[in-house]
Every structure is written in C-alpha cells, then in structure tokens.
Amino acid sequence: MLRTASMIMIAGLLAATATPSAAESRKKPAKPVPAPLIAQACSGCHGQLGQGLKGTPRLSGYEKDAFARVWSEFRDNQRPAATIMPRIARGYSDTEVAVLANYFSSIRR
C-alpha cells in the first residue's frame, strides 16, 4: 500500500528512465527532476499527480490543447459552473500555462 504510493510519487516527479523502488531511491542519487515547481500548487487540490479527488477533476493525462482551451475559458469567465479556477487561471502567464499543460498531459492516467 505505502510502497505503491511512494512509487507513484517517484515515478511522477522523477520522470526519468526506470522507476526505482522506494527503498532504492533512498540510497541512489536522484534522476533528473523535470516536474515544474509551478505545478506543485495544483496538488493542493487536485491530488499529488493531478489524479483528482472528492470532486476536483483529474488533470493527469489531460490533452494539451484541451488544457490550454479550458484555461483560457476560465480566464475569460466562460465556464459559469466554475467555482474557483477563474481566479486561479488569471494568475498564470501563457508560458506558464504551456508548461503546466505539458506536464499534466505527460502524466499517464
């Protein structure tokens, strides 16, 4: 149970070659860590790897173009059912949105 959870984290954040086990990762030096720091905040509501929980939608595996489209709809208040993302979306530049879209689309569902 715990072991699986650790492996998910490591797989998601380290994103490199083979997935090390939790125990291995403690001994071995890190692989490159490409998860953008600006995506960290999203896990405060969407779960560690954007898997979604208790009603927040899944972000992992989100198709890149759709992500950008949804984001601009949030920014422009074109999603009337949204409770909070419009206020969040307006805080990020286009470059940052592209980085977020790249990152979340690359996480396998």
Binding site: L2, T4, A5, S6, I8, I10, A11, L13, L14, A15, A16, T17, T19, A22, S25, R26, K27, K28, P29, A30, K31, P32, V33, P34, A35, P36, L37, I38, Q40, A41, S43, G44, C45, H46, G47, Q48, L49, Q51, L53, K54, G55, T56, S60, T83, I84, R87, I88, R90, G91, Y92, T95, E96, V99, N102, Y103, S105, S106, I107, R108, R109
Partner: protein, 430 residues
Amino acid sequence: MSDISRRNFGKFAIAGLSTLAAPSILQAKSGARLVIIGGGFGGASAARFARTNFPHIDVTVIEPQLTFVTCPYGNLLLAGARTLSDITHPYGVLKRRGVIFIHDWADAIEPDKKLVKLRSGKTVAYDKLIVSPGIGIKWGALPGYDQAAAQIFPHAWVPERGEQVLLLRKQLEALPDGGVVGFAIPGNPFRCPPGPYERISLVANYLKKHKPRAKILALDAKDAFSKQGLFQDAWNELYPGLIEWIPGSKDGKVVSIDTKEKVFQTEFGTRHKIDVGNVIPPQSAAKIAIDAGLTNETGFVPVNPYTFEATKAKDIHVIGDANIAGPMPKSGFIANSTSKQAVASAIALLEGREAPKDPIYFNTCYSHVGDDYGISVVGVFRPSEKGFVETPNSGGVSPRGPLAEKKTQRKLEAQYADAWYASITKDAFG
C-alpha cells in the same frame, strides 16, 4: 499506475521554467544534511518534498509532538462535524519515506557552528537548516491572558496535542442555553486571517442547533477582515440575530481579560460578561526563532523572498507563519507552497547552483461557514526585490450574492474544501 511517458519528458524539460535539480551535481555531494525544525505544515511539507525530489540528501525533522493535529478543520470539530482523530496526522509515512525524526524541542541554534541544540542536551549538525516552528503566543501582551488564563478562556490557536480545541468544545457543550460566547480577536498580523470568522460561523452553527438562545459577541481589534462581505452575508442569512461583531473603532478592541469575573474589557472601558470565551492572542514567531536572533522588531523573521533565507543568518531558511511574507497570509497552504521553493533553493545553494527562478507562491483559504456552505479566497504571489507581490488581476474571493442564487457555488466550495484538506495533508504528511 500513473507515470510520465518518456516521449513527452524532453518536451517539458526544455520548457524553460524552473524544474528541479541537475543529476551530475546531485551525485557529487551526497549525504548533505538538511535539518528541519518543526513538523507542521511548513516543516512536514519541506521534509516530504526534500525526500521525494532530493533522495541523496539526509532529511531530519526536529519536532516534539509524536503526531500533528492541524489547526485547519479544528473549527469543524467545534461544530461537532469532525473528531480529533480526523484532524490528527501521524508521521509514520514520512518516517517510512526515510525522514529521520527527532522528537524533541530545538532550544537553540548556533549559526556559526551550524548546530541545533536540543532540550535533551544533544546537538544536531546541519548543512542547511529549514525553520518552520509556527507562531508563539505573546503571553501577557494582552493583560490578564497568560498560560493559566488559557485554561479558562482557551485560544485553540496552536496545534499542540489538540487539548485547547477539545477544551473549547467541552465548554461549548456545557454552555447554558442563553449564554454568551465571547471572541477576542487581535490586530494584524496573525495566523490564518479568516480563521476567527470561520470559527465564529461554526460555533454559531453549533449554537443554532443546540443552544438556540445563546449569543456570540465577537470583539475585534480591527475594522475590517478577510472575506468580510461573504462572512457577514452568511451570518445574516444563516444565523440572523445570533452574532454581534464589534469593530475596533466601535470599542471592539479587547484590552484586558479577567478570568475571575469572566470579563473581556474593551478599550473604552466596557466590561463584557462572557460565559465561554475564545481569546485569539497577539502573536509572534515561535520562541526558537526569537532566541536564535532571527526576528526583527515585528517579532517575525525577515527573509529573502526568493530563497527564504533569513536576512539575519546564512544557511537558515525560515518558512511558514514565523516569517514576514505580507501580503501573503499566514496559512497552511502558503507554508506548504513556499516550503518547496525554500528546499529547492537551500539545496541548490548548498550545491553551488542558483536558486530556482520565477517561483509562484500559491494560497487558497477555504472557510466553512455552515452546512454545505463554503467560501474561499485565492492569492497567486511572486517574489520581487522589494518583497512579495500579488499577481495583478488574479485571485480574490468567491462571488457574493443571496444564498438562493449561490447555493450550488457554496455547496461545491464546501466539498472542494474537503478535497483541499485531504490533498494538502497528504502532500505534507502522506
């Protein structure tokens, strides 16, 4: 299960915004010691993030408590909607992730020798120190309010083992119907700007159901507060006539506490008789930050907004409620969000690299104000040479409006607040 596909990896690695570390350098300096004082929102988030992303670094947390009781969601305990175990988080998962815990108090820091002295007499050496000890209560700053008085009028504003929040709950249960629940609310800055008003709302929620003739008297040193319009709309709609909020300019500032007579006395001399009282006392950074000489005249710690290194000491990075980070609030989400930049910066600097560029610090504070009724405030912040800056045109509070119109929004926000709590506590302790 979840995994990042290797095909896409290259694409986002070149995206330019700061990702984490470079592998060759990581290999060169193995076994560096990151020591963290405090295993609360800031400290636990820092430890988990460091273990997950920099597994070559030794991570040690110094924390006296064996489990962590969150202040967030403690107000729901007052309403009877959560138990102590719902808001208690063990450190077992972090320990199994390889974080070393020393359950002791840090009593002193020697920046020159890079040592932390523990209450037990032992010392712990560090290469980089993260300090996240939260707030300290300025005992005596409000005349009549000392540790003994807190057994009569609890503050329930620091986690400890949950004793204070349980005491307040017990007192509310024992309150006679028709009694007065008093709140003494301090001036800025203090931990969790919407916290007192969420607490007022949820105590009202309890009273309305169980002591319908009881009243709340909220005495505030300030004239304005976080999410004020939204809170007051909710009070009028959900708890009409139950809550009286008195701002500082109308004699709301409590200047002394009398536990014998059970009185809160305000600035212009009014003596308010209270049956159950919650005193949210004036605050500073926790004692260890003051004793280590990290604080300035405000009682909090000035830091570099890019790295969180204390202005007054090298290699000590201070996060969470102990630092000065206005206009960012003293919140669990900010402690969590900033912990990551602080850790990534501390390790980069240790290894001779630059701190990650262009960070974003993120906050959302949800508040429950009634059953199926949640509201929120969002802030997206960035560092600058002058301090922390809120990103223009972003953030802000939930839309106002009559409950009849906003019912779905309020209900969804209550549900998303629960998602936030589950998510953020997993990100820190899981």
